[in-house]
Amino acid sequence: MDNAQTDTILEIKDLSVSFDVYGSISHVLDGVSFRVNRGQRVGLVGESGCGKTTTLKAILNVLPPNAILNKGEILFEGHNVFTMVDRQLAEMRRTGAGMIFQDPSSALNPVFSIKQQFMAALKYAFPPNTPPKELYEIAVKALEDVMMPDPERIMNSFPYQLSGGMRQRVCIAMTIAAGRKLVLADEPGTSLDVTIQDQIMRLIDRLVQENDLSVIMVAHSLGVIREFTSYVNIMYAGTLVEGGKTRDVFENPRHPYTIALMACVPKLTGEGIAEGIPGRVPDYTAPPTGCRYFPRCPYAQEICRAKKPQPVEIDPGHWVSCYLANEVS
């Protein structure tokens, strides 16, 4: 993977996004930067409401209308998605990057059949003169690819007739079928049962390998990230606090938040659970200045309040946004 370092498919630079919620401004994302290389699997971990999904939606430029882009750019194959003209943006969505949603039951339109939705998506991803029969075959093939039994019947079903796991497979098929290069997976297994989640994760794993895709895997489960990704970014309250090769970060976490988070995860080995992180996630309408974690951080010092820490590389490829990166462990 390291030799592909030079070939970047996606680069997010200093992304800051706010939301206007009934006149009060929530400053959610604050200076998020990371890159995804071709063929790389990048994880994005954080607790609910920390801005993971917002980051993914920003990549496809499908943020809700009340979102405000404060600054930053997202370069997909070198082109900024925020300044793309409609045609370029559509092109990027059709063949560049695609998203798998957390809740497959809300990601499919309840009043259209799978066929109607699938065909609409494919119609614009392929040249305009492609005969519908060919598109249909592509869709059926994609459904076979995601291990759906009886794809023809599935095509004529409505979402409510499918189980959660099957709906998620359909969504994956729709994302993969058009030959996209980057998959944005937003907690694809979270709303499913454990054994079904395992199947879905293995399915994505296989498809990514077979089609040589790049992935951003968003999850709150550290286990999913460790098993699936090669590189990970830890997100806290709209900021990235730590990043590096998954193995490095998991074996040697350096940010106080990462350390506390890992201690909270119940382990199968059963050594008990840490006390949890004191305090709450900050109020985004008035987030702490400086490091957003400092009000909850046991090591916090004056400087943490005053100024936002910049990422520091502590080991090759492993960086931490913390003034105490070299003291904490």
Binding site: V62, E91, R93, F101, N109, V111, Y124, A125
Partner: protein, 340 residues
């Protein structure tokens, strides 16, 4: 299959509702102070004739017995004799109902398309001037009772700029159109009288518009708010992120789920059109069932009032059934067999 079972189930429930309704309205009509026989025959009728009438109409029997005679008659299609027209109420219905139906159809069906159009426009231009214009006018229009529109239209289009007939009625005296369907415009066309059809259409314009305005704007508002609500749903984000063009999404994937709630309340809208038709028909001298019923109510014509209420009940239930079927066709989730 499921559509048919739904219809059968609803019809079963509807019969219970109609029977209950008939009991309510029947007992209500019998508690009128005064003697129904005397009321029917007038104060000058000799006592023995009144007595005979009372005997014939079973007014001297206990209430449940009276109801039994009445409802068995109703089931045979005999609603009793109207004291105003001196004819069987069923015959009156046959004469007056088509005019009302024509009015309600014109007021009820074409405006639906305007409602959807305005709703979609409002959502697409959310918080820009077309949306403001639609919302502002909808507030005013919804706030105005149908009969007030009727009066204002009459004044403006009938008198001040006399472009529409101010005398009312269904058609000008000079035309004579044989009744086939009972719907005047259609009958005139069938009889190859385009001038008569145009004239009948002009007569229809004001009353049907007065009836249509309120529910049209109500439906437009509903469609708009559902469009906006659904626009934030994951499935719209999903299809957008697939690169499907915005206009296709709006026209197809956003519109359909958003109109279903609007369609499902249309049954109630039809009921309110019938209700509002009461006064609008009176204002425009429209020879329909509502005007007939209005006269019956004012002159305490018991059989006619009971018949009209029952008739409206039947129409309401049939309309709702029709709406249910349309909703089932639009929304596949409704076809789902219910599980826990």
């Amino acid at each position: 299959m499921t559509i048919i079972t739904t219809i059968v189930k609803r019809l079963g429930g509807a019969i219970v509702v109609l029977l209950g309704l008939s009991m309510i309205i029947f007992s209500l009509m019998r508690i009128i102070p005064g003697d129904p026989a005397r009321l029917a025959l007038g104060p000058t009728a000799p006592e023995e004739i009144v007595e005979q009438y009372r005997e014939r109409m079973h007014y001297n029997k206990p209430l449940p017995t009276q109801y039994y005679y009445w409802i068995t008659g109703v089931l045979k299609g005999d609603l009793g004799v109207s004291t105003v027209t001196r004819r069987n109420v069923t015959r009156d219905f046959a004469e007056f109902l088509p005019a009302t139906l024509e009015l309600v159809i014109w007021a009820g069906i074409p405006p639906i398309f305007f409602a959807l159009l305005l709703g979609v426009l409002g959502a697409m231009y959310n918080n820009r001037w077309p949306d403001y214009l639609i919302r502002f006018s909808s507030y005013i229009i919804v706030a105005t009772p149908a009969f007030v529109w009727a009066v204002l239209f009459m004044l403006i289009f009938g008198y001040w700029l006399p472009i529409l007939p101010s005398i009312g009625g269904r058609i000008s005296m000079k035309f004579s159109v044989p009744s086939v369907t009972g719907l005047m415009v259609l009958d005139a066309l069938i009889d190859a009288q385009p001038a008569a059809a145009w004239d009948a259409f002009l007569h229809l314009l004001m009353p049907s518009l007065a009836l249509a305005l309120g529910h049209t704007m109500q439906e437009a508002r509903l469609t708009r708010s559902h469009m906006l609500e659904n626009a934030g749903k994951d499935y719209i984000t999903m299809i957008t992120s697939q690169g499907v063009p915005r206009r296709i999404i709006n026209r197809r994937f956003l519109l359909k789920p958003s109109v279903i709630p609007t369609v499902s309340i249309m049954g109630l809208d039809i009921a309110s059109i019938f209700g509002n038709a009461f006064l609008v028909e009176t204002i425009f001298n429209w020879p329909g069932i509502s005007r007939y019923a209005m006269n019956a109510i004012l002159s305490k014509d018991i059989n006619a009032v009971c018949g009209v209420v029952l008739l409206f009940g039947v129409i309401f239930i049939l309309t709702n059934l029709l709406v249910d079927v349309v909703v089932i066709i639009l929304d596949p989730r409704m076809r789902q067999t219910r599980t826990a």
